[in-house]
């Protein structure tokens, strides 16, 4: 079955019954790339409004759920047998069609061992968490990805997303400051859009317009080909910016619910560490080079009581403690908003990545 322009009912039924051929299963990578594009054409055809565009996601895996075609493709990319960024395009295809976190992670795991697709695969896998609200695990993935991509050009999506997680989900203002300090010119358009969502959440003036402008700049060039995509993006954008006061209020409530006392106590414990001169506490002065230990400079290590207080927090995970809010009714709308933002981010990112495929041809 090779849908070219428009999904028919028969196509939909065939896909649901598993009567389809998965992408790249035959190994003809160029032809399969074209088929991927034709599937997108079908998904975003203006007349296919009654069919879920996500139906195209079924073609990524084999009908039995296997990923043999993808593995063959990743091996070909690793061996240099494919001359255009088809791995990027496939990840973009997933994002554009709104793939759930689990599917995106599964496909990304096939490509994260290939040097050329590694940054994109890490970003596709780590930037998520909205489906199962496992933001904590995704934050850890982001941190690991950021460390492994340090110094590489492809690090920016991961860096931006990690800082976005810090601000939006862990309500750390330092994350917002870091986002604002980024040089937007270095970022890809989707990451710029993500930065503007954080600014919108923080109540920055003009952030809403900036979000819209970024999205238009990304979707505009493909609008003639995929007009339905523009409508989907516009609808999702409208939902994101519909209630700025309520959203910001919930976010601030979550920020206020954080354990600021623990942070403050850690601050003063940290501030005392350098204060260890014997003349301070014992009232005796020590000549330079005098004895250490019980009389000289006290080592900076804290008491066991202070260590225990720190260890509890580290064991639980800093991000989890900052993200978790006891009153779930407050946190739920913010988490849901974050999930929607990330889904739209992957759509926009998908357009950018597929654009790279078109340009390379």
């Amino acid at each position: 079955m090779h849908p070219q322009k428009l999904w028919s009912s028969a196509d939909v039924i065939a896909v649901r019954e598993g009567a389809y051929e998965a992408l790249f299963a035959r190994g003809e990578f160029e032809a399969e790339s074209l088929r991927m594009e034709s599937l997108l054409d079908a998904a975003f055809h203006p007349d296919s409004a009654e069919v879920d565009p996500g139906l195209g996601l079924a073609f990524v895996l084999l009908p039995d759920g296997g990923d043999a075609g993808l593995r063959r493709l990743s091996e070909a990319i690793a061996a240099g047998a494919v001359g255009w960024p088809v791995g990027h395009a496939l990840l973009g295809y997933l994002g554009l069609l709104g793939a759930p976190d689990a599917l995106r992670e599964r496909v990304a795991s096939v490509f994260d061992g290939v040097a050329s697709t590694r940054p994109e695969a890490l970003a596709a896998s780590a930037i998520g968490g909205g489906d199962l609200r496992d933001y904590r695990d995704h934050y850890e993935q982001l941190r690991r990805a950021e460390a492994s991509l340090a110094g590489l050009a492809g690090r920016w999506p991961v860096v931006v997303a990690r800082q976005w997680f810090d601000f939006v989900l862990a309500r750390r203002w330092s994350g917002f400051e870091s986002l604002r300090a980024l040089n937007l010119g270095e970022l890809d358009p989707a990451s710029r859009w993500l930065v503007s969502t954080a600014e919108f959440l923080a109540g920055e003036e003009g952030a809403r317009l900036s979000m819209i402008a970024c999205a238009e700049a990304i979707v505009g060039p493909v609008d003639p080909r995929w007009p339905r995509l523009s409508r989907i993006v516009a609808r999702e954008m409208a939902a994101l910016v519909a209630e700025p006061f309520a959203l910001r209020w919930r976010h601030l409530q979550c920020a206020a619910a954080r354990d600021h006392a623990a942070a403050a106590v850690r601050h003063w414990l940290g501030a005392t560490q350098g204060d260890a001169r014997p003349e301070e506490d014992l009232g005796v002065s020590i000549p330079p080079g005098g004895p250490h230990g019980s009389l000289g400079v006290l080592s900076p290590e804290p008491t066991a009581a202070a260590r225990a207080a720190e260890a509890c927090r580290q064991k639980a995970g800093e991000f989890l403690l900052d993200w978790f809010v006891q009153d779930r009714a407050i946190a739920r709308p913010v988490d849901a908003w974050a999930a929607d933002v990330l889904r739209l981010y992957h759509r926009l990112r998908g357009v950018v990545m597929l654009g790279a495929l078109g340009a390379s041809r």
Binding site: G203, R248, H260, A263, A264, A276, S294, L298, T303
Partner: protein, 354 residues
């Protein structure tokens, strides 16, 4: 005099000569004699002798073995309070009392159930509970202990520390700074009681007096001596954290900003963001109300944020200071003082004459 009595006498003699530990030769002799007495045909003597043997080894410098032997003894004779008392005492006299605080609490509670109304058991419970972080139970135990023994300076010290840092009662500083050190000196106890005075003076913002008290607390220790270093450093480390918490329990005025980590802290930024949000809501009240946001609610959240943070800082601070005090004070006492005779009596390690 039978073997058990000889062992008890040897133990007493070893403890009478306490100087940063029991007299080495005598405590070893006590351990050997207790081992011999543990073969006594009479079950109770046998059980108590096993406790004595374990305690002797604890004082001889092997607390790990002592605790293991005591647990074995307890499993064999669970109805005998002596084993529990000994285990609780050894846990509290460990160089790292916080690591064994839960065991101490368990053992001493069991001992109290088996032998209610024994002052020394009740007296050991407040430090055990404090080290375990259970401050309300610690305060209740300290009060029970003072009811059983009105001259109990140890429980008075713990009660005052808990009242000051757990309850925020500044009147407790008078007990810490004056009553407890005077009582301790009158009873010929070690200088460790002055450590409580450090906390009292600091809470009153009497920094010089606090420093003098710290020097008094560690005065018998040889400054610069490697053997005494852990106890001196332990006290200094606790004092350093106490200073970090700052004088007085109440946090007010310009200190508050410093307490929450300065103007760049997450607290300060959240508060600033709430203030900015309040302004925006007040500029467009209809739109905000349509989305369920009101100025009053924002102001309420600002107040709640501050109140919760203040309370949290006090609770966290109290937890660190009280547990840190237990960490510094208990090993210092164990280093400078032999266990009191009434604790040995509670373990049945005594000779009945006449």
């Amino acid at each position: 005099m039978n073997t058990f009595d000889q062992a008890v006498c040897a133990l007493r003699e070893a403890l009478d000569g306490w100087n940063r530990g029991a007299v080495p030769g005598l405590i070893s002799r006590a351990a050997v004699l207790f081992d011999e007495a543990a073969r006594d045909p009479e079950p109770r003597t046998r059980a108590v002798a096993r406790v004595g043997a374990a305690v002797s080894r604890g004082f001889a410098g092997d607390p790990e073995l002592a605790r293991r032997r005591l647990l074995e003894a307890i499993s064999e004779t669970p109805d005998l309070a002596a084993g529990y008392v000994a285990l609780g005492m050894l846990c509290l006299r460990d160089p790292h009392p916080l690591d064994h605080a839960q065991t101490a609490v368990w053992a001493l509670l069991a001992a109290r159930d088996l032998a209610p109304g024994v002052p020394c058991i009740e007296r050991m419970l407040p430090p055990a509970f404090t080290a375990a972080g259970e401050f309300m139970s610690a305060l209740q135990s300290a009060r029970s202990a003072m009811q059983l023994d009105h001259d109990d300076d140890e429980s008075r010290l713990w009660a005052a520390m808990l009242r000051l840092y757990f309850g925020g009662d500044l009147s407790a500083t008078a007990v810490l700074c004056n009553e407890v050190p005077e009582l301790a000196m009158a009873y010929g106890k070690s200088s460790a009681a002055w450590l409580g005075a450090v906390a009292g003076h600091y809470a009153r913002a009497e920094f010089h007096e606090a420093r003098v008290s710290l020097r008094k607390a560690i005065a018998p220790l040889k400054i610069g001596d490697a053997q005494d270093a852990p106890w001196v450093d332990g006290a200094r480390r606790w004092y350093r954290e106490l200073k970090g918490f700052g004088p007085g329990v109440a946090m007010s005025g310009d200190r508050w900003l410093r307490d929450v980590g300065g103007s760049q802290s997450e607290y300060a930024r959240t508060r600033a963001a709430l203030s900015a949000f309040r302004e925006q809501v007040s500029l467009r009240p209809e739109r905000a109300a349509a989305e369920g946001v009101e100025v009053l609610a924002v102001e309420g959240l600002v107040g709640e944020l501050e109140a919760r943070t203040r309370r949290g800082i006090l609770e966290w601070g109290a937890r660190l200071i009280l547990r840190g005090f237990a960490e510094a004070y208990l090993p210092l006492v164990a280093w400078l003082e032999a266990p009191p005779m009434d604790v040995l009596a509670a373990m049945d390690l005594l000779v009945l004459d006449g």
